[in-house]
Symmetry: C2
Subunit: 407 residues, 2 copies
Amino acid sequence: MEVIKGGVTAAKGFWAAGAEAGVKYRNRKDMAMIYCPTPCRAAGVFTSNVVKAAPVLWDKEIVEKGNGVQAVVVNSGIANACTGKTGYAYCRQTAEAAAAALGIPADGVLIGSTGVIGMQLPMDRITEGVRKLAAAVAPGAEAGHTAAQAIMTTDTVPKETAVKLTVGGKEAVVGGMCKGAGMIHPNMCTMLAYVTTDVNISAALLQEALSADVQDTFNMVSVDGDTSTNDTLLVLANGLAGNPEITEKNEDYAAFCAALHAVNETLSKKIAGDGEGATALFETKVIHADTKENAKKLAKSVITSNLTKAAVFGHDANCGRIMCALGYSGVQFDPERVSLWLESAAGKILVYEDGLATDYSEEEATKILSCPEVTALVDMKMGDCEAAAWGCDLTYDYVKINADYRS
Amino acid sequence: MEVIKGGVTAAKGFWAAGAEAGVKYRNRKDMAMIYCPTPCRAAGVFTSNVVKAAPVLWDKEIVEKGNGVQAVVVNSGIANACTGKTGYAYCRQTAEAAAAALGIPADGVLIGSTGVIGMQLPMDRITEGVRKLAAAVAPGAEAGHTAAQAIMTTDTVPKETAVKLTVGGKEAVVGGMCKGAGMIHPNMCTMLAYVTTDVNISAALLQEALSADVQDTFNMVSVDGDTSTNDTLLVLANGLAGNPEITEKNEDYAAFCAALHAVNETLSKKIAGDGEGATALFETKVIHADTKENAKKLAKSVITSNLTKAAVFGHDANCGRIMCALGYSGVQFDPERVSLWLESAAGKILVYEDGLATDYSEEEATKILSCPEVTALVDMKMGDCEAAAWGCDLTYDYVKINADYRS
């Protein structure tokens, strides 16, 4: 497996486009399309929020139907959540507009929306946007990059990645794009992620691989603890790599899962590092926990602690807050066995040993915490399970962005 | 029942003091003492954090022993958490110093600490502080107020309240003080609260009344979702009102519970309204939920949502965030039945009706959200259970305070 340039159009047969539709934002691209001339197998995971946006309901149905998917249409600016039957009908209208413009069936069109909750979409602009997208859709890295830009809301950078793998003797690619900076606490956020691959794999195994991997990747990210109404992660597989179809959990499946994991983990970390207002990616790795589940709970409790996040912003090694967040995670453990390191490109220091603060250098700790990627490494000394979770610091800009998001 | 002036010294027989001990802060009082010449029955509830501060361990033992309590010694600045056996021994030394100075048994002395985690207490200054306190301790509102000031950390105001009630034909008082502004998400934070009463009540019923009431008061407050290592709520009852001892759940017990609830709820709201950096108390009331437990989960989910809190700071009626927070609370419900009002001294408006945003006036909503106390009223239309939770807005100052708390 090798990381390559590109994103959602890196795999054979996937086209994309971005367009300015004026849904809510002005003077920027705010609609994106992914298109594949070959029908794709699709797998998806969606928000666990009881309040589910209309496009989430639409996509779940399409994925469950199992027909070939050929297009994804996404808008930023308005989330189409809390919009009732009208909002759902708008999903259908959007799909129908895309189907007509592309000459494909409407039940092969997935929909994504991200932005303000509680507003209806301006359907005239959406359908006009769909026509522009269908006319502009094209293969190549440039087109994929434009799509990744169009789905941004408060994101500061477009988020893409791709890897190359060999499967059944054939070269294949898994690539993807995502967006998400606030309301990010996916259990399955407004996190939208679209992964494409030319690997030939059965629909059942595609879904199984996705459902398993999301537990260790997107679901381990939190910017603010708010699980969105719109979280959607979709994988489309068109089979154009020409490998024999993966229908069992053999080494080809393992190769695909490894590639999918690499793409999902990279996209997850891009979301965490670009969290609203964030100046740093804050990772917590828990090792030697008694169970995987507990390792995950502990790691996630630390990266979601507002006090810890504010301390990371201040480059302040106030690690008692990390001990505190471990303590309220819901996991039982002996505090007097826990050791804790801070780690980054600037070095690594032990700050707590067996539950007690060490005599570490504050200066060195501050240097370590001043890097754009910071890790807290927690040794529970209970077993052999581990997990990582990704968040970001809590900054003035997070408050600024969210105190006047709608204006 | 009637609200009266005063706090921890409002009930007969309770004395208090504050003193400057230089534990960590400079030029301010940082140690407090409550003293009662008459041995008291004591009840307590403590943090659910696995990482428990040394004074929490000490107080639990003292309360469980059930000997008469005669003094409480509290310091601010250092939490005495993650301090191991040494930290626990320091609790004993503090109690012994107080016992010697006051001429009472050491196991009648409760200890409280709040501040930075992971540092050891400077015991020379603590014992000197205890001597000062024992010399200064006095009855009266002034002494109680000084104690309430001395236990503050990032609090901006001292927090006290008291009520008068009649019980068994006698006039009695329940009064209290508390502190807490950050690391506030009591499940049973550094929330320290001390309630005193002259009501004559059995130790068992005192604990039962406290344990029940904390569920609807302090445990429904959240500033930042971080459950502290030090949360402690203690009630001391000296019996000096002269009422026949309350030993069963009769109308005297009900009168005491109502007074205790009034004191606990007022102190809880004072903590929420003075949350670190807060400009507003943000209350969420959920009505017509199917169960009390669900009503509480829903209310708490809204007041802990960072996005909602930031919107309150911005006076922005971005109520989709409230719908979203209800949705990820863990409670199952039909989003299309939920109605939502915003309410404050400036008025009340319906912003969501049956799951859909109404055509409300943004101007009016902003006016309502600009008050120092704001309520979101949520009607679930499922049953007859209700709950309230109290939080605050998320502001630049919260980040500022917590990015450099230790410096």
